[in-house]
């Protein structure tokens, strides 16, 4: 029944995501209206907060950097047919690996510490994804449930470390000591200044460029390498993969570990770029935002970068909105997230089927 004929590229890549987003925003707007506020005023406040001034843009892109990491993480697993909702826990463990690396050699060599921190973040994130991946591949334990459990476990583990062995000496808060001087990623505004150009971009830092590099690497891996092809085959059809001699077990584990490594690198932006210490709750649900970003971006790195920027703007604009409208708090952004996942991820057919039918009819008329 479904047409084999593909939609033109622009309809698939722009029109459909646009319609999904519009539907999600429409519902979100209705909620704002229900809360007794003016949706259009809210929208303009958000746009103003996200793009209206230099630091706003900086913050939007800063949040977007987090979401590129977590969005890529979700999508790599998704291409292998796995739904990794453990980005939150993997990011926490990544932050831990990063912190340990920094404290290990930060005093001796800050530059080397930053490099080791990147490796530490990726390794710990990957390791945290390994157990659920292995259990899924070998024991058939549902990866969605186990990764969620690993989020809770990671959160408790971090809470323990930050009021115990890793707590700032003499401190009361669940946070580590400050990183040694120099063991951080440069703010882009400082970099701009070096090249004689002034832009107050707030906390935006070199991690943004690392995130873009990761996006390119993921694209190359998935669509330009034999490994990525095999990964996608596993995601499409286990039997076909086995028939072609691809080990589903091995691919499941590797895909999840790459996914975990990407989620783990979120700490580069938050911790190494801005906070310069490990905080108990630094992930703030950004791992879950990755799900919305991946679906919105149609699981393609370019789409993910764009969707991450959209969500970065939503988070920054939402913070300003919460400041201006007392009935709307930051929780509201979480609702938008859920709606985007619903419309872009689960209700794909809602717009795809009518649009395909429309194109078919137009096509037939042209042919006639």
């Amino acid at each position: 029944m479904a047409s084999q004929r593909k939609l033109p590229f622009w309809a698939d890549a722009i029109l459909l995501p646009g319609l999904n987003l519009l539907a999600a925003f429409l519902v979100s707007g209705l909620v704002i209206w229900g809360l007794g506020e003016d949706p259009f005023e809210a929208l303009s406040l958000m746009i103003d907060g996200a793009f209206g001034f230099e630091e706003g843009v900086g913050y939007s892109l800063y949040y977007a950097t987090n979401f590129v990491f977590t969005g890529l993480a979700v999508s790599v697993a998704y291409h292998a047919g796995l739904f990794n909702i453990g980005g939150e826990g993997q990011a926490m463990l990544g932050g831990l690996g990063l912190t340990l690396a920094v404290f290990l050699i930060g005093d001796a060599s800050p530059v080397f510490a930053v490099l080791l921190a990147i490796v530490g973040a990726a390794t710990f994130g990957a390791a945290w994804a390994f157990v659920p991946a292995y259990l899924q591949a070998k024991r058939g334990s549902h990866v969605v449930i186990t990764t969620i459990m690993f989020n809770f476990i990671a959160s408790a583990l971090l809470a323990y470390l930050l009021v115990g062995p890793l707590q700032r000496p003499g401190g009361q808060m669940p946070e580590s000591a400050d990183f040694p001087d120099g063991a951080s990623l440069m703010h882009l505004q400082d970099l701009f200044e070096v090249i004689g150009f002034s832009y107050e971009s707030g906390p935006l830092n070199l991690s943004a460029l690392i995130a873009l590099l990761c996006a390119f690497a993921v694209w190359f891996m998935l669509w330009r390498s034999r490994f990525g092809y095999e990964l996608r085959v596993v995601g499409q059809n286990h039997d076909a993969a086995r028939f072609a001699g691809i080990s589903v077990t091995r691919m499941t584990v590797i895909a999840m570990m790459i996914s975990g490594a990407l989620a783990g690198m979120m700490g580069l932006n938050e911790l190494l770029g801005e906070q310069h210490r490990l905080l108990g709750n630094f992930t703030l649900g950004y791992g879950f935002v990755g799900i919305a970003v991946a679906f919105m971006g149609r699981n393609h790195p370019v789409g993910i970068v764009l969707a991450a920027m959209l969500f970065g703007a939503l988070y920054q604009g939402g913070a300003e909105l919460a400041f201006e409208m007392p009935n709307i708090q930051r929780d509201y952004i979480v609702l938008i997230q859920g709606l985007v996942i619903l419309f872009a991820g689960a209700m794909e057919h809602l717009f795809r089927d009518p649009v395909e039918a429309l194109f078919r009819r137009v096509g037939q008329r042209r042919a006639a």
Binding site: G140, M149, Y160, D331, V334, E348
Partner: protein, 323 residues
């Protein structure tokens, strides 16, 4: 004797903490038996917990709370049903979307209505399903052994906990002894056969989702108006996922699912009792580690004992008629 008292207290809180798990576990069971995977138990529970606490706070009646909780939960269940049945959408993604949307919407509404930073006001005793003392519980308390069992362990729970004890056999009876139950099990295994017999797959699955919604409504209501005295942000704390794991461990069958939920409830009760206790040899376990226990147990169960379980064959697969 002190050990005996401790044990009774532990089992008493096991029954308490297991109540929402059993209800949610049965909810997941009905959904999956009909062929719909429902990872959104968590969101439905949270929505019901909020709606129940809000309605109970406004009206002062726990029954209004129960009604609102069930209403909210059934609405979400039907949304998930519509996405899964009519839209042929990805059921895992839909469930997750509902969980996230509710985690955002509930505190937003709580803040809008009550201005308490995303919580609902503390409920009075009259607005809650509070402890019910069974007949003669006080009189029998002094009878050795049995008196303690009766007055401490069996007496003093809230109404929904007692209802749950009745719901388990009711669900088992419905599933195995009624025509509806037979059809429900069939539609999760082989929807084509059900369709060929002239029975509507769509209708059966929507009916299953309504039952799922009602059960999750009870589970959420007991969280905020039975066990707790109001709605708190993220108060479901992963219980929906624990219930799913318990259901898998219970092989999609009501009584084994009940036992698995009791095990989870026991571990949860145990972790509460272990906090701050000096154990022989080990010493005092940091509270963060005892909190992990139910989550670690879930992973161990899914990995070790559950093994490769046979889920209902058609669960998670949208049904499409051939044309």
């Amino acid at each position: 004797m002190e050990f005996f008292t401790d044990l009774i207290l532990l089992l008493d809180s096991t029954l308490r903490t297991a109540t929402p798990l059993v209800l949610a576990g049965l909810a997941g069971l009905i959904a999956e038996r009909s062929g719909i995977v429902d990872i959104g138990l968590e969101g439905k529970m949270l929505a019901a917990a909020f709606a129940a606490a809000a309605a109970a706070a406004v009206t002062g009646s726990p029954w209004a709370g129960l009604g609102a909780g069930i209403g909210a939960s059934v609405a979400l269940a039907l949304l998930h049903g519509w996405v899964s049945i009519a839209q042929r959408g990805n059921q895992i993604v839909s469930g997750m979307a509902i969980n996230i949307a509710v985690a955002g919407l509930a505190p937003t509404l709580a803040n809008f209505w009550f201005r308490k930073g995303g919580q609902t006001p503390l409920l009075d005793d009259e607005a809650r399903f509070s402890a019910i003392t069974l007949p003669f519980a006080d009189a029998l308390a002094d009878v050795p052994l049995l008196g303690g069992l009766y007055s401490e362990l069996l007496s003093g729970h809230n109404l929904i906990t007692y209802l749950t004890a009745a719901i388990v056999p009711l669900v088992a009876w419905m599933l195995y002894k009624t025509r509806f139950g037979l059809r429900l099990r069939a539609v999760g295994e082989n929807p084509e056969a059900v369709d060929t017999a002239g029975i509507s797959v769509t209708l059966l699955r929507y009916q299953a989702m309504i039952i799922t919604g009602v059960l999750c409504g009870f589970a959420g209501t007991v969280l905020s108006t039975g066990l707790g005295g109001g709605f708190i942000r993220d108060m479901s704390a992963g219980k929906g996922y624990l219930a799913l794991a318990a259901m898998i461990f219970g092989r999609w069958k009501p009584v084994p699912t009940l036992l698995a939920c009791l095990l989870f409830g026991f571990v949860d009760a145990l972790q509460g009792r272990l906090q701050g206790v000096d154990l022989p040899l080990i010493g005092e376990i940091p509270v963060q580690f005892t909190i992990m226990l139910p989550y670690v147990l879930t992973v161990v169960i899914l990995a070790g004992f559950a093994g490769r379980m046979q889920a209902p064959k058609a669960s998670g697969i949208p049904y499409e008629k051939d044309h």
